[in-house]
Structure formats: structure tokens, C-alpha cells
């Protein structure tokens, strides 16, 4: 191990590798901060280059690029209310509200530090606990994923700020939208009206850009003072205040990290679901849950740590079994094969130096994130100073380009426009849009795993509770659903006894 560590450090300190890491960092920051350009797409574009690179720089470029991209997704969320990657959607509302209050540097500073901490926690988990996490992940079949998705959806009840009823309506709207298209289990097409574009369903990223970004454009255009910039930016240091926030919420940091690691290790769930779960749990345990969704820094810590700690987790099933944890690791497997490194237990015995290099790059990339991240914030936060009549057309253009870029399909621009109008109308009437996004993400997972489970058991429901992990998850979900009912009955009883 010592020899391998030394070898990997020698390989990594090669000037060429360092150059690759720096270029990949800039590439990741750029991709992540533009809504519609995803880490998956960026990784796919790297494949032809990776063919010529040695394994270590090739993998280093992907690890660095992905970590930077997930952080950079927070930047447009705080500045223009457009999550750059789906993993940021959970706390976009809070980031943006804080940004409008002039705290954009604080928010983004916390984003950088929490992303970096999360990434390092994930890397440590990968180094120390890969076999253990693998055992945990191997317990997950459709029954467990069903409960996980249901538990995730239940967090929608916690994340709503205004009225729970309106939040529920938003979730149901999201779930409805997720039913459009071919249903994979039985192959039926639903609500497609003969349109081949609708066969694939509502594309999630254009919908998200519309609901958050375009709706905000509409809202701003309606206001009068278009000459003014979005907000004043406070001056001062970024790192110090950010570290102070993290220290204040140290329990949140650890909790978010653990949630991210566990969710990330599951092949069927990734950074976005980790962020939502962390957000929901943070609200459940917070002393000030009423502030969530209205510019609270606390959930940004939880979810910001969780989405980055989930990244390393996704490499575990990929390295151990060749089963990708997300679309990026699917490409990583392809690159490993190109290099003659077939994923599997063998990789842990024969290629320890490559493996140790991957670990080292994970930590290195997350340390590099702090200087690079602050640089990116410094550059991008100037956008807050631009007057709105200049900024808004640029945002609109970004909305259009971003929703087109994801599938190269003009239809998606239409999806974005419609969802923008829907989002605008809903929010004007007090309906939150966050739960719609949650419904869109979790709807297919919930439905598919329910259908698959029922097909497996030929309609029996016993297996939802007889498998050990599903029993725990199921019981947990039911408790979460019953708690409000119990407290409601209690309140009624105590009123009566008064």
C-alpha cells in the first residue's frame, strides 16, 4: 500500500497529469455552471481523448471534472435561479433568495466549502468502506428502491414552505408529468397524443430550466425597475465566513455526508436524490424549519455536502462489479475497459496503483475545488452587478440554449417555455415549484420499481416487508407518513381535554 501510494503520487505529480487536472477543473466549472450542459455529456466528450491518455490522467480528468461540475451547478442557481445541474435543484430557492439579499458570496462560499468537504468525505468512505458499502448496496432490489423513492417523496411534505396542501398539489403535478411517455414495464405509451417527441416523456432538465429560470425571467420583466442590478454584493472575505457557517452546522455537514455516501453507493440513485433526501432530513431536524425555502443557509450545507459525497459512492459498484452507479461511471467503465482494466474484484488486487491514484485524485480534486471555486465565484458574481435589462435577455438565451443542448431537440425548447409559463402561474398563486421537480425525478423510480416488484411477486405485497432492508425502509416511511396524523389526533384530544 505504501509503495502504491508513493507510485501514485509520482504518477500524479507528473507535469502532464497536473496540466490535465487543471484543464479538467476549468472544463468542469464551465460545464457545470451552464444549465443544460451536464457532467455526463462532458465525460462523453472526453472519451476520444481518453483513448490517447494513460489510465491515471484519463481517470483523473473525469474525477476532477465531475466534482467541479457538481459544485459549479450551484453558481447559476444562486445568481439567476437556474440550477446548473439537477443535483442543485433541492436548494435553488434558498440560494437564490439569499443571493437577492446580497449574500451571493456567502452562499457560494458555503457551496464551495461544503462541496469540498462532501467530496473528501465521499473519498474517505470509498477508501475505507468500499467492500462494506458494496454489501449494503447489494441488498437493494426493486422493493428497496420503491421504499427509498417513497421516502424521498415524503420529504416533499417537509420541504413545502407555504401550505402543505399546495405542496402536495405540486408533487402530484410532477408525478403526473413523469407518467408521460412510454412506460417501461409494459411498454404502453401514455398522454403522447401520437407525438414521437412525447414518447420519451418530459425531459427533466428543460422542465427544470423552465420552472426555475424562465419563470424568474417573467417575474422580473413584470417589475418596473429594470435599470437596477439584481442585488448589491457585500464586500469582504469569502473563506472565513463560509468556514464559520460550516462549523456552526457541523452536525449537518456530517449528516449530509453520510446520506450522500449511502445514496451514492446505490446503483439506482445518485447525487440529485441524495441532495433532496438531505434537504428533507435537515428540515425535519432543524430548529428553524420555517425558514427553509425562504433563504436559509442551513439546508445548503446539508444538501451541498450530500451531492458531492454521493459522487465517490457511485464509483463503488462501478469498480467492484462493473455496474455503473450513474451515467458518468457508465462511461468510466468504458474508459477502464479501453485501458485494459476490466472492473471487478481483480482491480483491487492487480491494479492497486491505479486504484490508489483514483483515491488520491478524489481528495486532490476536492482540495483544488477551494481555490478554483473561489476564482469562479469572483468572476461570476459580477453578473449580479449587471443591470437587469442586460442580464434578463442573457438568461433567456441561456434557458433556450440549455434546454436545446441536452438532447439537441428543438421540442425541448417548447417544453421549457411551457414549463416556464406553468411555473410562473403556479408561483404567483403560492404553489412551490420545487416539489414538481422532485415528482419528476422520483416518479419514474417509484412507479417502475413498484411495477417490477409486483411483476416479480405476481401481485403479492408480502415481499415489500419480508426482506430485511425493505422492512426497515418500509417501516420508516410509514412512520414518517403517520407522524402528522398522530400529532393531529393528539392535538385534537388535548383540545378536548382542555
Amino acid at each position: 500500500m505504501d509503495g502504491a501510494l508513493w507510485n501514485s503520487l509520482v504518477q500524479l505529480s507528473h507535469p502532464f497529469t497536473i496540466l490535465v487536472i487543471i484543464l479538467a477543473s476549468l472544463y468542469g466549472l464551465f460545464i457545470g455552471s451552464i444549465p443544460g450542459l451536464t457532467a455526463t455529456m462532458a465525460t462523453a466528450l472526453l472519451v476520444p481523448f481518453a483513448f490517447w491518455l494513460d489510465p491515471v490522467p484519463a481517470l483523473a480528468s473525469i474525477v476532477t471534472m465531475q466534482a467541479m461540475a457538481i459544485f459549479a451547478g450551484d453558481i447559476p442557481a444562486a445568481i439567476v435561479r437556474m440550477p446548473g445541474t439537477p443535483a442543485t435543484a433541492a436548494y435553488t430557492e434558498d440560494s437564490y433568495t439569499l443571493g437577492l439579499q446580497g449574500k451571493v458570496r456567502l452562499v457560494l462560499g458555503v457551496d464551495v466549502v461544503s462541496s469540498s468537504f462532501g467530496g473528501i468525505m465521499g473519498a474517505i468512505a470509498l477508501i475505507l468502506g468500499a467492500p462494506l458499502l458494496m454489501k449494503f448496496a447489494m441488498q437493494f432490489t426493486s422493493y428497496e428502491y420503491f421504499w427509498l423513492a417513497l421516502l424521498g417523496l415524503s420529504t416533499a411534505a417537509f420541504i413545502t414552505t407555504v401550505s402543505p396542501l399546495k405542496g402536495l398539489i405540486s408533487v402530484l403535478l410532477g408525478l403526473f408529468l413523469s407518467t408521460i411517455g412510454i412506460e417501461i414495464t409494459l411498454g404502453f405509451s401514455r398522454y403522447t397524443f401520437g407525438s414521437q417527441n412525447l414518447l420519451g416523456g418530459i425531459s427533466f432538465i428543460p422542465a427544470m430550466i423552465g420552472l426555475f429560470g424562465l419563470a424568474e425571467v417573467f417575474r422580473n420583466v413584470r417589475k418596473k425597475e429594470l435599470q437596477a442590478p439584481l442585488a448589491k454584493i457585500e464586500k469582504g472575505k469569502m473563506l472565513g465566513p463560509a468556514l464559520k457557517v460550516i462549523w456552526k452546522y457541523k452536525i449537518n455537514t456530517v449528516r449530509g455526508g453520510i446520506i450522500g455516501i449511502l445514496v451514492g453507493a446505490l446503483p439506482g440513485a445518485g447525487a440529485d436524490i441524495a441532495a433532496w433526501l438531505a434537504y428533507g432530513i435537515a428540515k425535519k431536524f432543524s430548529k428553524h424549519p420555517e425558514k427553509f425555502g425562504k433563504g436559509a443557509i442551513e439546508p445548503i450545507v446539508d444538501a451541498g455536502v450530500a451531492n458531492n459525497s454521493a459522487l465517490a459512492g457511485a464509483w463503488i459498484p462501478a469498480l467492484v462489479f462493473g455496474i455503473p452507479g450513474d451515467s458518468v461511471t457508465a462511461i468510466v467503465i468504458g474508459i477502464l475497459m479501453l485501458k485494459g482494466l476490466r472492473p471487478g474484484p481483480v482491480i483491487f488486487h492487480q491494479y492497486t496503483d491505479v486504484l490508489v491514484s483514483i483515491y488520491t485524485v478524489f481528495i486532490l480534486a476536492n482540495l483544488l475545488m477551494i481555490p478554483f471555486g473561489f476564482l469562479a465565484i469572483r468572476v461570476s458574481s459580477h453578473a449580479m452587478r449587471v443591470s437587469k435589462n442586460v442580464l434578463i435577455p442573457i438568461i433567456l438565451l441561456m434557458c433556450i440554449v440549455g434546454s436545446y443542448a441536452i438532447n439537441n431537440n428543438p421540442f425541448d425548447i417548447g417544453v421549457m417555455l411551457v414549463m416556464g409559463i406553468v411555473g410562473f402561474i403556479l408561483e404567483e398563486n403560492g404553489f412551490p415549484v420545487g416539489p414538481i421537480v422532485l415528482g419528476l425525478i422520483l416518479g419514474p423510480i417509484l412507479e417502475q420499481n413498484l411495477m417490477i416488484s409486483l411483476i416479480k411477486s405476481q401481485g403479492g405485497v408480502a415481499q415489500f416487508f419480508t426482506r430485511p432492508v425493505s422492512a426497515v425502509l418500509g417501516a420508516g416511511t410509514i412512520v414518517v407518513w403517520l407522524l402528522p396524523v398522530v400529532s393531529f389526533i393528539r392535538r385534537k384530544l388535548s383540545v378536548k381535554s382542555d
Binding site: 447489494m138 475497459m337 431537440n409
Partner: protein, 327 residues
């Protein structure tokens, strides 16, 4: 001063007009290719079809001397991208990858598109299906498994894709070919091969009928066992695994992908393409790429690809009807 600028403007208009006319003239009469070429991929970046297309593009670029770009047009279960290629201008500058789904989608009534809407250029990869079980299962050979299925029809489950997807066809073809009912092993749909393999090792399903090439890490790691491959002949990475044909079932199927042009591309352009693709496919770069990616190369040039498509269309249609999936 003013006169001068007027004269200058006149000259500018003349030059620009000249350039424009020359541009169109050269476009019409120029030798093919005289500008960049695009390959449309109907599936998302990073998948097998996408990676093959990108490797081919890199190789083709060297042969043709013009940039060859790859564009992913995803959505609609592959319908969107396949239709984008079929409806593109037949000028040889837009090509597309077509996959086994083109011989299935029209039977499932998802679209009217079928293989006759294309000029086939070359079949590139064809990853055969396999019969894969968990090492925790009692079945050590194909015979063990068949005996169990015959004794307990409808008890076991298999997975790999959505219902009516390519690996579901593999199950139907295998079981009906062996003289059993297609539902002697029930199908559990999944979002893809990797989801099915995680179910397999977690004990959620009994059999995976996806390509053993995707399960190699599991087979190496002694978590899964491949009992048979549904290929014409044995595959080199799994030399010990018999083909279904050797076991008495004359059936083979694979997830394939090939390059095609929209119908109506002029013969002269097609000939250039056949030659260029032939050289690109036979280049060391492309061969290395495919081999190291763990894909199974199955190069069939234009006419052979055409015959292959016609055969696939009939066979897959029949299988889908047998299973009651064709509408």
C-alpha cells in the same frame, strides 16, 4: 470622399456576390465530401452505440479528410433519433446509427419507421445475448437450468430490458426455440442491462438474458455464471461457454448497431461512403477501440447489412407476435 466610399461599396457588393455564387456552384459540383459530416446517434452519450459512433467518426475523419461530428438525438425510446436520420436531406452529409430497435419499433406500433427508410452502409457491432445466472443459484450448466424450467414452468424470472426490448426477445427466442412456452420463464422488465444485473446479484431475479460482455466483471468476480451465449459461434472472451446452437437450439440474437444514410442518397456518394467506411472500420484504431471496449465487432458491408436487416425484421417481428407483444 463620399464618391470613393460609394465605389468601395459597389466593389464590396460585387465581391460578395461573386463569392456567394462561387460558393453555391462549388457546393453543387464539388466532389463528395466537401464539408463536415454529421452522424446522428439515437441513444445517449456514453452508451455502446454512442461510443462506437464516436470511434468510427474519429477514424472516418482521417479517411475522408473532413470533420465527422457525432450528435446525440435521444428521446422517444430511440424513435426521435432514428427518425431524424431517416428524414434528413439525402446528400450524404447527415448519416446516422441504426440499432436493432429499428426492426422492432414498427411491430410494437411505436412508429411507422422501418429499415427500408435507410440506405444501409455497414453493420458494426453485434453483442450477443447470454443466459446468465447468479453463482448463488444451484444451476451449474444449461442442462441443469432447462431441467428446472421444464419441471417448474413459470416459476423463474428473467430480466434485461423493458418488456419487448432486445433482451426480452432473447428470452422469447431461446425458450420457444427450445420448444417451451415463452412464459416458462417470466419477464421482469428493467431500465437496462446494468439494472437487471444488480437485481440478479441481489437475488431479485433468477436469470439475466443481456449480453455477457456487460457481465464480464461479475463473471470474473465469481458473482455470476454464463451458461450459454446466443451467438452464431463461441465468443473469444468466454471460450468455455457453449452456444445455444451447440445445445440444440438454433437461435442467436444480439444487440447490434450499424451506420446508415437516409433513403435516396445518390449512388455515387454511397460508393464513396462504402469505401471510406470500409477503410475506417479496418483501421487499427477502430479495431483496437472495439476490442478494448469489450464490444463484439460484426462488420457487414452494405449489401450484407441489407440482407441482415431484412432477416432481423422478419425474425424479430415473428418473436414479438409469438409473445403477443406486436400490436
Amino acid at each position: 470622399m463620399r464618391k470613393k466610399s460609394k465605389r468601395f461599396k459597389g466593389l464590396l457588393v460585387f465581391i460578395l456576390t461573386f463569392i456567394m455564387i462561387m460558393g453555391t456552384v462549388s457546393l453543387t459540383f464539388a466532389k463528395y465530401p466537401s464539408r463536415p459530416i454529421t452522424i446522428i446517434v439515437p441513444w445517449s452519450p456514453g452508451g455502446g452505440t454512442d461510443r462506437t459512433a464516436r470511434a468510427l467518426a474519429a477514424s472516418l475523419q482521417k479517411v475522408m479528410g473532413w470533420r465527422v461530428g457525432v450528435v446525440n438525438r435521444t428521446g422517444g425510446g430511440g424513435v426521435v433519433g432514428h427518425s431524424a436520420t431517416a428524414t434528413a436531406k439525402p446528400n450524404g452529409y447527415t448519416l446516422g446509427m441504426i440499432t436493432i430497435e429499428i426492426t422492432m419499433m414498427h411491430w410494437l406500433k411505436l412508429t411507422d419507421l422501418n429499415y427500408r427508410d435507410y440506405e444501409p452502409i455497414a453493420l458494426l457491432i453485434n453483442n450477443p445475448a447470454g443466459i446468465i445466472v447468479s453463482t448463488k443459484s444451484p444451476w451449474r450448466s444449461y442442462k441443469d437450468l432447462m431441467n428446472y424450467i421444464k419441471a417448474h414452468p413459470g416459476k423463474l424470472t428473467a430480466s434485461g430490458t423493458a418488456a419487448g426490448g432486445v433482451w426480452d426477445l432473447a428470452r422469447i427466442g431461446w425458450l420457444t426455440g427450445a420448444g417451451l412456452d415463452a412464459n416458462a420463464v417470466r419477464w421482469v422488465p428493467s431500465t437496462g442491462a446494468s439494472a437487471a444485473l444488480s437485481e440478479l446479484i441481489a437475488g431479485g431475479v433468477d436469470i439475466a438474458t443481456c449480453s455477457p460482455l456487460e457481465a464480464l466483471p461479475l463473471i470474473d468476480g465469481n458473482k455470476a455464471r454464463c451458461l450459454a451465449v446466443m451467438a452464431e459461434k463461441r465468443i473469444s472472451v468466454l471460450k468455455d461457454v457453449p452456444t445455444l446452437k451447440e445445445l440444440g437450439v438454433d437461435f442467436f440474437i444480439g444487440g447490434w448497431a450499424g451506420l446508415a444514410a437516409p433513403k435516396g442518397v445518390p449512388e455515387s456518394i454511397l460508393r464513396v461512403l462504402y469505401k471510406a467506411v470500409d477503410r475506417a472500420v479496418k483501421s487499427k484504431y477502430f479495431k483496437d477501440f472495439i476490442k478494448k471496449s469489450g464490444f463484439w465487432m460484426d462488420y457487414k458491408p452494405s449489401t450484407q447489412f441489407q440482407d441482415f436487416l431484412a432477416l432481423q425484421d422478419t425474425v424479430n417481428g415473428k418473436l414479438l407476435r409469438t409473445a403477443g407483444l406486436a400490436k
